[in-house]
């Protein structure tokens, strides 16, 4: 690949740089910035210039084909990588893309006639001050849009809720349950959590308060009565502002404990 083909050399260098960042920089945001052109522009560009070596292609065609052929390469490349024992892993993806980019650029360089000029150096159009100001305004509006869109807002008219859950824990010899409460209410709330075993009265009662978004979790060892049958365990959640009404209820079964022989 001759340095005369500055577009091909540029694409190859860009691919190597992007691949290096993707492989060695462990920061998602930075990798995303470099992986996007590596995945969605460069493979298609290489395929396009290899196919149309020596022919003039408009910038509109080049842009469209670069992105479209990149998408097509990745879609079909996924099927190809699926046959490898390692499958679709980051390293193989980078390898495949590098192969396509470097191979495509190489083929394009070979197919271009030695006397042919490579694509002329692209120069940006001259931008008037008023145009620059308008484009800056557009960027500001887009930035405002995304800031507003990605900012969660308070919503007075949504219905808040509280999650109560209970899952078995511990072992057969030492049964236990994990109980959790998650508040997604709109205001801080005080709760009372009560655990009942079978038809007996409460074996545990806890009071706590949660702000919206906060969670409470507790591992509760339970001594199951030796009845020879499974025992039902019930967790009841009350709100302090409505102390008598059960707000949430979950249940579970403790495995049977065999009666000890007398």
């Amino acid at each position: 690949m001759s340095l005369r083909h500055h577009d091909l050399v540029g694409a190859a260098i860009a691919a190597v740089l992007c691949a290096a960042v993707v492989l060695f920089v462990p920061v998602t945001a930075i990798r995303a910035v470099f992986a996007t052109p590596l995945c969605l522009i460069l493979p298609g560009y290489a395929v396009t210039v290899a196919s149309f070596a020596g022919r003039k292609l408009s910038r509109a065609h080049l842009l469209t084909l670069s992105v479209a052929m990149s998408l097509a390469t990745l879609a079909t490349g996924a099927v190809a990588l699926n046959f490898l024992p390692e499958g679709l892993r980051s390293g193989w993806w980078v390898g495949l893309i590098m192969l396509i980019v470097l191979g495509g650029c190489g083929v394009a360089a070979l197919r271009r006639s030695p006397s042919a000029e490579s694509r002329p150096r692209d120069r940006l159009p001259r931008v008037r001050r008023v145009d620059a100001a308008l484009l800056l305004g557009a960027c500001a509006a887009v930035a405002g849009t995304f800031t507003l869109s990605y900012t969660p807002l308070p919503a007075r008219h949504v219905v808040g809720y509280t999650e109560l859950w209970m899952l078995p824990a511990g072992t057969a010899g030492t049964p236990a349950v994990r109980v959790g409460v998650v508040s997604a209410e709109l205001h801080p709330l005080a709760y009372r959590l009560e655990l009942r075993l079978g038809s007996r009265r409460a074996i545990m009662s806890l009071r706590f308060a949660l702000k919206p978004g906060q969670a409470y979790e507790k591992l509760v060892p339970v001594a199951s009565p030796a009845t020879g049958a499974s025992t039902e365990i019930t967790a009841l959640l009350y709100r302090n502002d409505r102390a008598t009404a059960v707000y949430r209820r979950v249940t579970g079964w403790l495995p049977p404990v065999p009666r000890e022989p007398r």
């Binding site: 590596l38 002329p120 978004g213």
Partner: protein, 615 residues
């Protein structure tokens, strides 16, 4: 007749002549980009107000949307704009409208198919192989083009399927509008017709939302258009030039085949039709017939269907069969026609003003059709794609009639995305913009931009129910902390406590469980789950059905909305933000307690029972 050389010269001016670039300005692109961005900001304000449950007027949204599209339409209709400026404008149009969709769904996928495909992408990223199956839409896992592409970005960057999917679909949107521009320009020889064709295409009812969702068709359709561009460009007597376009055609066709079933069949059909038309209109010309590519597309699609995705037949045939029967029943009067502007899921009726706009948009399309057909036929009939576009334009109105048949409207709606390509080209050929009476030189352009605005609005109205046009509360703040909607919060709980387990749930809950819950969730007609979750009794067959699916956890959701895949994901709201939820009878959940299934999770509306935890 317009020569192709004119358009080629026109388009090549975009890049070939650097001197032109140096001396040219950006035209009106900066001004229009600024207006479009402000329009986008206005749309996002409407979305933000809606998320904050302040019940904003939809007029804010419409105002923003019109601010985006009208300046672009007006400029595209002018004779002065350069080809490069028009190309920039259609790219701006496509990407800004995609940003409108992003502003609606900033925190998660919420469109019907998105969560299903996100699950597929997550599975690929997790297991590093394709074809892992999908419990809700099994056929989707057998067409992994989109998810494979997305998983490449996911594995290279660490982005989630949501982040990576947004980037991939943005690229697909860009390809869609730019390829349409090139296709229409190549056929008409006019960049003005090309730009207006894209402007008309934006009025298709699936453009703003459905076609922009993270779903396999959103990638396959743009690639189909690229293949058509390549086939059209290949239509030249120069052998070497024609040969160069073979690579995009073959690669594009292969990508379409592995990405989406219907699009691959549509592509094969178009290429076969094109080969036949070519025989008729180009018998004496020395341009190459595309039959080898038609044969290739047929072979690729047939191979993939037989070897990989044979269940596609079982998936598509009941849908098409039901559509056909419903149409027959409606035509014969055996079944009552479907009520237009009535959402089947939520039962929401579109307001009168919006109905009028939607009907006006159809009237505009119908009124422009004869003029467009006449002009397109007279000026471009030697282009093999033009007869096909004319047929598609007429067939589009046939799909509108399908909207009256209860089970056929969706088929008609989905077909419109393909047929609208032909209609858009035909309408762009009608040349309303050339109407310029002496006293009002720009009247034709103003009229055309206005008509395009109405068509765009009409498309949005017919494509998506009005209550779902704006963003809904999925993630809000309370006392400075973030809280998520009940179904989303439940899905997050599952991902923490029970990942990978098997659930039966309502449609919306199951979709969230797939993506955010990292679980396997069944819903709908699979195992009669829809019935099981709504009936107050628990006959033995229900437990047998659940056991057959190997489901351990049953998720009951008392909100009827949870069965609606467009509105079921969000917070319940109180007036004025919306109407309170209608609820299922409590017995629909309590019945599982009668078989002593542990009730392991309770968040008010959502209750989970563990069928294997019974004593």
């Amino acid at each position: 007749m317009v020569t192709l050389a004119a358009f080629r010269q026109d388009v090549r001016a975009i890049g070939a002549a650097q001197t032109t670039w140096r001396s040219s300005r950006l035209g009106r692109v900066p001004l229009i980009a600024c207006l479009a961005s402000i329009g986008l900001l206005v749309c996002s304000v409407a979305d933000a107000l809606s998320r904050a449950t302040l019940a904003p007027s939809l007029m804010i949204f419409w105002g923003g949307l019109l601010l985006i599209v009208l300046p672009i339409f007006y400029r595209l209709s002018s004779a002065e704009a350069s080809s490069s400026e028009r190309f920039a404008l259609v790219c701006l149009l496509g990407l800004t409208l995609y940003a409108v969709k992003l502003a609606r769904d900033p925190f998660s996928y919420t469109l019907p198919d998105e969560l299903i495909h996100a699950y597929n992408a997550n599975q690929i990223a997790r297991f590093h192989t394709l074809f892992h199956g999908n419990p809700i839409l099994p056929v989707s896992a057998l067409y992994p083009g989109l998810e494979g592409t997305t998983s490449a970005l996911m594995s290279m960057t660490g982005l989630s399927s949501f982040g990576a999917g947004l980037i991939v679909i943005a690229a697909a949107r860009l390809v869609m509008v730019s390829a349409l521009f090139l296709l229409f320009g190549r056929i008409s020889g006019s960049s003005r017709v090309a730009g207006l064709g894209v402007a008309f295409y934006v009025g298709n009812s699936n453009f703003l939302h459905w076609g922009a969702q993270f779903s396999y068709e959103s990638l396959a359709l743009p690639l189909l258009v690229v293949v058509l561009v390549a086939v059209a460009e290949r239509d030249t007597p120069e052998r070497s030039e024609a040969r160069a376009w073979a690579v995009p055609i073959i690669l594009g066709t292969a990508a379409v085949v592995v990405t989406h079933h219907l699009t691959s069949y549509a592509l094969a059909t178009v290429l076969v039709a094109l080969a036949l038309v070519h025989l008729v209109v180009r018998r004496r010309a020395r341009t190459p017939n595309p039959w080898p590519f038609a044969a290739l597309a047929l072979a690729f699609a047939a191979c993939w269907l037989i070897v990989v995705a044979s269940i596609t037949v079982g998936y598509l045939s009941p849908v098409l069969d039901a559509a056909f029967k419903a149409t027959l029943h409606t035509v014969s009067g055996e079944a009552a026609p479907r009520q237009l502007f009535q959402s089947t899921g939520s039962g929401f009726a579109t307001p009168a003003g919006e109905r009028i706009v939607a009907l006006m948009s159809v009237a505009i399309l119908a009124a422009g059709l004869p003029f467009g057909l006449w002009r397109a036929w007279r000026e471009h009939r030697t282009q093999p794609l033009v007869p096909l576009f004319c047929v598609a334009a007429i067939a589009y109105f046939g799909t509108l009639a399908l909207r009256f048949a209860p089970q056929a409207w969706e088929t008609g709606n989905r077909a419109s995305e393909f047929l609208f390509i032909g209609l858009a080209f035909v309408l762009a050929c009608s040349h309303l913009e050339r109407y310029s009476p002496r006293r009002a030189r720009r009247l034709g352009r103003v009229l055309l931009a206005g008509c395009l605005g109405i068509v765009a609005m009409g498309g949005v109205i017919s494509g998506w129910p009005a209550p779902s046009l704006l963003s809904q509360p999925l993630l809000v703040t309370a006392e400075g902390n973030r809280i998520e909607s009940e179904p989303l919060g439940f899905a997050r709980w599952v991902s923490r406590q029970l990942p990978g387990r098997r659930f039966a749930a309502s449609d919306a809950d199951a979709r969230l469980l797939l993506d955010h819950g990292r679980a396997t969730a069944f819903t709908g007609h699979a195992g009669d789950i829809e019935d099981i979750l709504q009936t107050p009794t628990l006959p033995p067959w229900q437990l047998l059905d659940l056991r057959e699916l190997d489901v351990r956890y049953v998720v009951t959701d008392s909100r009827r909305r949870s069965f609606d895949i467009t509105t079921g994901y969000y917070f319940s709201v109180t007036p004025p933000a919306g109407t309170p939820d209608t609820l299922l009878p409590a017995a629909a959940a309590d019945k599982f307690e009668r078989v002593r299934a542990p009730r392991i999770f309770d968040s008010g509306s959502i209750i989970v029972y563990d069928l294997d935890g019974r004593p």
